[in-house]
Amino acid sequence: MNVHAGDRTLRLDNVTCVFDGGYVAVKDASLTVNDGEFICIVGPTGCGKSTLLNVAAGLLEPSRGNVSVFGQELTGMNKRAGYMFQAESLMPWRTALDNVALGLEIRGVPVDKAREQSKFWLEKVGLAAHKHKYPHQLSGGMRKRASLAQMLILNPEIILMDEPFGALDVQTRQLMENELLRLWSEDRKIVLFITHDLEEAIALADRVIVMSAGPAARPIGNFSIDLPRPRDVAEVRLTPEFLKAHSAIWDVMREEVLKSYKQFEGASHDA
């Protein structure tokens, strides 16, 4: 599918993020996502996955290092990307319908048309019956699905997702995952997908990146997943290739887990 001559990659070069107070969340993290690649990032909680995604989105300026998008250095927002946040990010004063329509409205689509498309997307994520509810009237999983629709409706070239399916039951999650894969296969966008679920990562990704435990986290493992596509996320889990990949990645993660354990048991590394 990669017919473009130009550089169509997303690159993070030696990115370091230091927060106010001196906490080094991410240190010297480098990552290249090729055109049409679906990347999953896994890693222990609090290691810096969201931070890295914020950097890729242009929402957080790295203290050191830089980001380039399709060959151009990123300054300011990443306009080619859509971002599904880990935190609640629906506008509380808009119904599900209007929340999903928001992006189109911003692009100048007339409200009527935007709503119509929004309805279509709400149906896709199974919220057709709840389109007139405000975020606080939706359940946790429904809010996540609305956020998903809100991002996908804009058809971004780069998709950034931060634990999008964590609040969904297995069945709904698989529906969503398959839908996401279907959309992605249509025109092979770049996808950066954070999850804490290794199985989900393997089922979806071309490549799984393992982050080390924080502080000063960075990618320490890089696994190509050579499962055939198109995949069905439920079925693919039963294949031997899947199990092989799983155990390979798990081996790398074990070390980080041990670090985590130490943090739990030992004293705090805190002044």
Partner: protein, 261 residues
């Protein structure tokens, strides 16, 4: 924390309280426990009000004051919104102008009245100007803080969707600051009336404040109170309109009634 009271009972209490207060006023002044020279007499006040409307004499004054109030409410609100948004979103301008805004807010308006008279004449516009200086600051401070109180995640989300500064304003900052704005609007309804009446009081040829000033000159406390009652009624009407608008704009908010007490 208590259960929502039933509406009829509430209305009953409200009316009861009202009559109780008027009765207390009546009794206190009738027996001169409170000097009627200062506090007037409710029946005379009512008569004054009746006469005003019966003779039609009040309309020109009332209309003048209402016009001034509405104009200053409108202008002050819009200016407060605009400047508040601007300074909240432009840290440089904010830091630069901050002391001037605060200095302006601490200026006793009464002393500015002569200057307004020069600039705007003694017609309605000098009153509007005076009232605007009251309304503006109340709205301004709330908009300013309201905009800064917006959740950063919502802003980030809208920006990722490609919102320009203007669109951020329209789609995120303004709706998010709505409850702040309405809080200030409730305060400024009163301020607009106060400004208009004080302006009239400081120099005018008509308006309810003018009537009050005239009556004060001849120790006619009942007319003064009648004027204040009239103003109050109209302030409550205007406030009700604000409340209705507020309900409409803030319909999305979780009602606390659905939670158990």
């Amino acid at each position: 924390m208590t259960r929502k009271p039933s509406l009829p009972f509430l209305r009953l209490c409200q009316i009861g309280l009202f009559f109780f207060l008027v009765l207390a006023w009546y009794v206190l002044t009738a027996f001169e426990l409170a000097p009627s020279f200062f506090f007037g007499k409710p029946l005379v006040v009512a008569d004054r009000l009746y006469q005003w409307f019966a003779t039609g004499k009040i309309y020109i004054h009332l209309w003048t004051t209402l016009l001034e109030t509405l104009l200053s409410f409108g202008i002050g609100t819009i200016a407060g919104l605009a400047v508040g948004m601007w300074l909240a979103l432009d840290p440089f301008a904010s830091a630069l102008l901050d002391p001037y805004v605060k200095a302006a807010n601490s200026m006793p308006r009464i002393i500015l009245a002569p200057i307004f008279a020069i600039w705007f004449g003694l017609g309605i516009w000098s009153k509007v100007a005076l009232a605007v200086t009251l309304v503006f600051f109340v709205v301004f401070f709330n908009v300013y803080h309201g905009v800064r109180d917006v959740s950063p995640v919502l802003v980030s989300n809208a920006r990722m969707m490609g919102a320009s500064s203007r669109q951020l304003l329209r789609y995120v900052y303004m709706p998010s600051a709505t409850s702040w704005v309405f809080s200030s609007l409730h305060a400024s309804v009163g301020m607009a009336f106060v400004g208009a009446v004080v302006g009239e009081y400081l120099g005018s040829a008509r308006g309810v404040g003018f009537l009050i000033l005239q009556a004060e000159g001849v120790f006619d406390i009942n007319t003064v109170i009648a004027g204040m009652v009239l103003l109050t009624i109209f302030a409550l009407i205007l406030d009700t309109i604000v409340t209705i608008a507020e309900r409409r704009f803030l319909a999305w908010r979780p009602s606390q009634g659905s939670q158990r007490a």
